[in-house]
């Protein structure tokens, strides 16, 4: 489900889910499963691990529905839990267990791929970032969250978030230019 074109959900959906309406809960899941799964996929670089992570996140949500205050809070909560859980899992897994994505493993939500090689290389390079900068970059550029939100989600200072973004952009862009996938613009 493409979140950007999704119909806005009624606020009552959350209340219905809290009251035990499973259909309402399933609707909430479908609205956010793409984002949560994608965070897992790009953090852990494995589809099976990403699905396990997404399942864990939504099972936690089911248990903690009463603590979700609004649909906006729900979005914040899901991304926070997904990112932090992925960071925890990465810490426990040996690095060899997180292999780069297979070619073609990612299916873009929208078929606008004019340069799939660049996308694959970008995702591969993203997967080489250490866990925290990787999570910051995903929350920023995949989930379009602002710096303050990311800082709150990952429990880190705002300046640290900014620093992660700045260095990661510099490194990724440099690597892409080096691989001749991005043209270096003249100043």
């Amino acid at each position: 489900m493409n979140l950007s074109t999704a119909q806005p959900m009624p606020d009552s959906l959350l209340a219905q889910a809290r009251a035990g309406d499973r259909n309402a809960f399933a609707t909430l899941v479908r609205a956010h499963q793409g984002s949560v799964f994608s965070i897992g996929l790009r953090m852990l670089s494995r589809r099976d691990a990403a699905e396990d992570l997404a399942q864990d996140v939504f099972l936690q949500l089911y248990r903690k529905l009463d603590s979700i205050e609004s649909l906006e809070h729900l979005g914040f909560w899901l991304r926070r839990v997904a990112a932090n859980l992925a960071i925890d899992w990465l810490r426990r897994l040996p690095y060899s267990a997180t292999r780069p994505l297979d070619e073609g493993a990612e299916v873009a939500a929208q078929e606008t791929e004019q340069d799939p090689l660049m996308s694959r290389e970008l995702v591969r390079l993203l997967g080489e970032l250490p866990p925290h900068p990787r999570a910051v970059m995903l929350l920023r550029y995949q989930e379009d969250r602002d710096v303050a939100e990311i800082a709150a989600m990952l429990d880190m200072p705002v300046n640290t978030v900014k620093s992660h973004i700045k260095r990661s952009l510099t490194a990724l862009r440099g690597q892409m230019i080096g691989a001749k996938l991005v043209v270096e613009d003249s100043p």
Partner: protein
């Protein structure tokens, strides 16, 4: 004066004050009032005991934490004060000067000092050298809306510091060790994304 009291005082003076800091450790204020004014602050005070405790909970499998574990194994203290403000120079420079004056003491050397009038920032890096090792590292960074004091105490192996550079985004400052020639990395050999980004 009671002779016995005088003797005790003299003995105390000879043995040094009870609050004497470890070699390489600076007296850094808590800056409690500044923390109230700051919109963001980081205050870390880890003595040897807490460092040991912290190291036990670092993962050997996370490269970042593994390097941190190795570095702190020979340290006896890490002290950080970092404050960000909403307006320029909301912090009193006198407090920073008080810390900087301690770095005039024998043994401390300033290895980096950069003043940028354009950015209005000032960054200084000091080490308390002892042969190939440093007993202390201090960083004082003042920017219009942020100031930072870092003090690391203990046997800081400069080679390990080189190793740390490139991780956490720490750059290679080309810190020269007295006995070895400077090892400048070739310009083309930039750190990989995994090492540089942090």
């Amino acid at each position: 004066m009671n002779a016995r009291i005088g003797f005790v005082i003299a003995a105390l003076m000879l043995s040094g004050p009870a609050w004497a800091a470890a070699k390489g450790q600076l007296q850094i204020p808590e800056f409690a009032a500044l923390a109230e004014k700051a919109n963001e602050s980081v205050t870390v005070t880890l003595d040897a005991n807490l460092l040991g405790m912290a190291a036990r909970f670092l993962s050997n499998e996370d490269p970042e934490q593994a390097k941190a574990k190795k570095l702190v194994s020979s340290l006896t203290g890490i002290y950080v004060r970092n404050y960000s403000f909403d307006s320029d120079y909301a912090y009193p420079k006198a407090d920073i000067e008080g810390v900087r004056r301690q770095l005039n003491a024998p043994g401390w050397s300033r290895i980096v000092g950069v003043v940028s009038k354009k950015e209005h920032s000032n960054v200084e890096v000091f080490i308390l050298a002892d042969g190939n090792k440093a007993q202390g590292l201090a960083i004082i960074a003042s920017e219009p809306r942020e100031f930072t004091i870092v003090n690391i105490v203990g046997n800081i192996d400069l080679e390990q510091l080189h190793d740390l550079e490139g991780n956490f985004g720490v750059p290679d400052l080309d810190i020269e060790t007295p006995q070895k020639p400077a090892a400048k990395p070739p310009a083309a050999a930039r750190p990989s994304a995994a090492e540089k980004t942090k």
